[in-house]
């Protein structure tokens, strides 16, 4: 090879190499800085709560009415230990007064407690007055079925189709699924899901976790939380 053509080959290769590196640098900025904002989430550690534990449709705690929560506070429960629920403990203690320790994850009006210790039955079982559930009738709502803990802030972001398998995994593991509506309904955007029989969400709904869907069901308020008992036959991906 002549020294001239050698030089031009070298120059060309050097320019291509620089182009490649530069292209990757620009791409890194372009792609990374245009990711979507995972949104505001909150975390509160070292929480102790006392109330009645209920197993259906998913484990949740109902606290006595207070100034802040005049109807009582209903908070869905999951285990702080990975993608597991606390269904077994909730069934065993269903309807009894318990003491819980853990942390709370929060996004907008949605919240969930991650229980860090074994749930203990409280010594003092003096019953307290719980507000009656309010039936809000049948609704047809649009939104997304999410696993409660990821969407509320355990993962940022923790919803959508890229996250679908993880959400299925969590829900199958017993983490309460939540329906996140497009617009607030009766003041809330997050509602705890259940099946038409008042039990957990039917497994046939796993196909509908992640995408934006429209679904019909019975809406109920228990304490401060909305419960949406959906009808799998009336669900469609939009």
């Amino acid at each position: 090879m002549s020294s001239d053509s050698r030089r031009s080959t070298f120059l060309f290769s050097a320019i291509s190499a620089m182009g490649l590196v530069l292209g990757f640098v620009v791409a890194a900025f372009a792609i990374s800085s245009t990711q979507d904002d995972p949104g505001r989430t909150g975390f509160q550690g070292g929480v102790k709560l006392r109330g009645v534990i209920l197993a259906a449709p998913y484990p949740h705690l109902m606290t006595p009415p207070s100034a802040k929560y005049p109807q009582g506070r209903a908070i869905p429960l999951a285990s702080a230990n990975g993608k597991r629920g606390v269904g077994g403990q909730a069934k065993r203690l269903n309807g009894q007064i318990v003491e819980l320790r853990g942390f709370i994850v929060r996004r907008g009006d949605g919240e969930m407690m991650q229980v860090t210790r074994r749930i203990r039955r409280a010594k003092d079982q003096t019953p307290f007055a719980m507000t009656k559930p309010t039936r809000l009738g049948r609704w047809r709502l649009s939104g997304e079925i999410c696993d409660g803990q990821c969407v509320l802030g355990i993962m940022k972001p923790g919803r959508g189709l890229a996250h679908k398998a993880c959400a299925n995994f969590c829900i199958a593991g017993g983490i309460p699924p939540m329906f996140v509506t497009e617009k607030p309904v009766e003041g809330s955007q997050f509602m705890l899901l259940g099946g038409p029989d008042g039990g957990p969400m039917p497994a046939s709904m796993y196909d509908k976790v992640g995408p934006f869907i429209t679904v019909e069901g019975r809406l109920e308020r228990r304490g401060n939380l909305l419960f949406f008992f959906i009808d799998p036959a009336k669900a469609e991906v939009r």
Binding site: F12, F24, Q35, D207
Partner: protein, 355 residues
């Protein structure tokens, strides 16, 4: 079959090539995870685990795009050829990046459960019947498996063990793999993001790969279509010896579509197949080095008059008969068996100048 597993001859700066690749990929991942997020005003930062998956996944996609552009670029402009020589290292590095992506995904989305990660990967989402919510992970799994097979068989040992046609066919799997990666992104991440920037990048990359291949394909198709017709006795006109650059070849496409590389060197003219015995590289785009046709891809060498690799190597390529008639070089359309010596045309000074 060749026993030469270290064939790079012209391009000794292999390590420079690798260093540039590692620099580009490393810089990409670092900037993506550590630097760029600071420039976006997020209310809460994206999880580091998710940043890792996204950085390695998008990087592997860009690397694969670059790999697939090198081939057609080198055909369009020979100055890109040096990028081609070491493309296999590029491929292996891309596999490593894709593997890191898969690992980060498994370690976050499929971790912390009583179900083992790999089982979870295939069982957590089984919505195969729908477009939205389709288990797009499976597209990624396919592409990763292909990249693994290609990386594992990238060494020349496999090339000679599998034989070049089989090896080449196997490595063509890179195209379905790329399509699969695009589907993986389109059915997964792109369904979630509201910001369209990455969608534009993906479409741009896929369109570039497609366009480059279409252009080169059409060009070569057009060249082959005007394949030179032979006279009744099978001789095909090549042109004056002066039309062939010294130590280089003129490529002639025969009516059947095969290409012949007609070399002028050392006052002689010889013709061999354009297809390298090593990995089907375009011999006619190479040149004569130390008296041998030297393949531009990995530097395998062949004696132009006999089609044989210099000792101790044993590869052979097909040769063609040549003759000079009225100052014009002709090649016979019938190929000789690989390794058959064919009498070169001996040029007189005036013939060499194409006079």
């Amino acid at each position: 079959m060749s026993v030469r597993y270290e064939p790079v001859l012209w391009w000794r700066a292999k390590w420079v090539y690798d260093a540039v690749l590692i620099l580009a990929a490393g810089l990409y991942v670092y900037l993506y995870i550590r630097v760029a997020p600071a420039y976006s005003e997020f209310t809460r930062p994206v999880d580091i685990q998710i940043l890792r998956m996204r950085a390695t996944g998008t990087c592997a996609f860009l690397m694969l795009t670059a790999i697939l552009c090198i081939g057609p670029l080198a055909r369009l402009d020979a100055r890109f050829l040096p990028l081609l020589y070491n493309r296999r290292h590029f491929g292996v590095l891309t596999f490593a990046m894709a593997l890191a992506h898969a690992w980060f995904v498994l370690d976050w989305y499929f971790n912390y459960s009583s179900t083992p990660k790999l089982i979870g990967l295939f069982t957590a989402n089984t919505s195969y019947g729908q477009v939205l919510g389709f288990p797009f992970e499976i597209f990624g799994v396919f592409a990763l498996a292909v990249l693994f097979i290609l990386a594992a068989t990238s060494h020349d040992f496999w090339l000679s063990f599998l034989t070049p046609p089989v090896w080449k066919a196997l490595h063509m799997l890179i195209y379905p793999a790329y399509a699969s990666v695009v589907a993986h992104i389109a059915f997964g991440y792109l369904q979630d993001v509201e910001n369209g920037a990455f969608a534009i990048v993906v479409v741009g990359c896929a369109a570039t790969v497609l366009t480059l291949h279409l252009i080169t394909g059409l060009r070569e198709g057009a060249k082959d279509a005007q394949g030179a017709a032979a006279d009744e006795s099978g001789w095909v006109e090549v042109g004056a010896p002066g039309d062939i650059p010294e130590n280089r070849a003129k490529i002639v496409t025969l009516a059947g579509g095969e290409r012949v590389a007609v070399f002028r060197y050392d006052g002689k003219v010889s013709a061999v197949t354009n297809v390298c015995a090593h990995q089907n590289g375009p011999l006619g785009e190479g040149k004569i080095v130390a008296g041998c046709v030297t393949c531009p891809w990995h530097g395998h060498q062949f004696d132009p008059a006999t089609g044989r690799a210099p000792a101790p190597f044993t590869d052979k390529i097909a040769t063609y008969r040549v003759r000079l008639l009225g100052g014009i070089v002709f090649v016979h359309e019938q190929a000789n068996a690989p390794g058959t010596a064919a009498e070169p045309i001996i040029l007189t000074t005036s013939a060499a100048e194409g006079a």
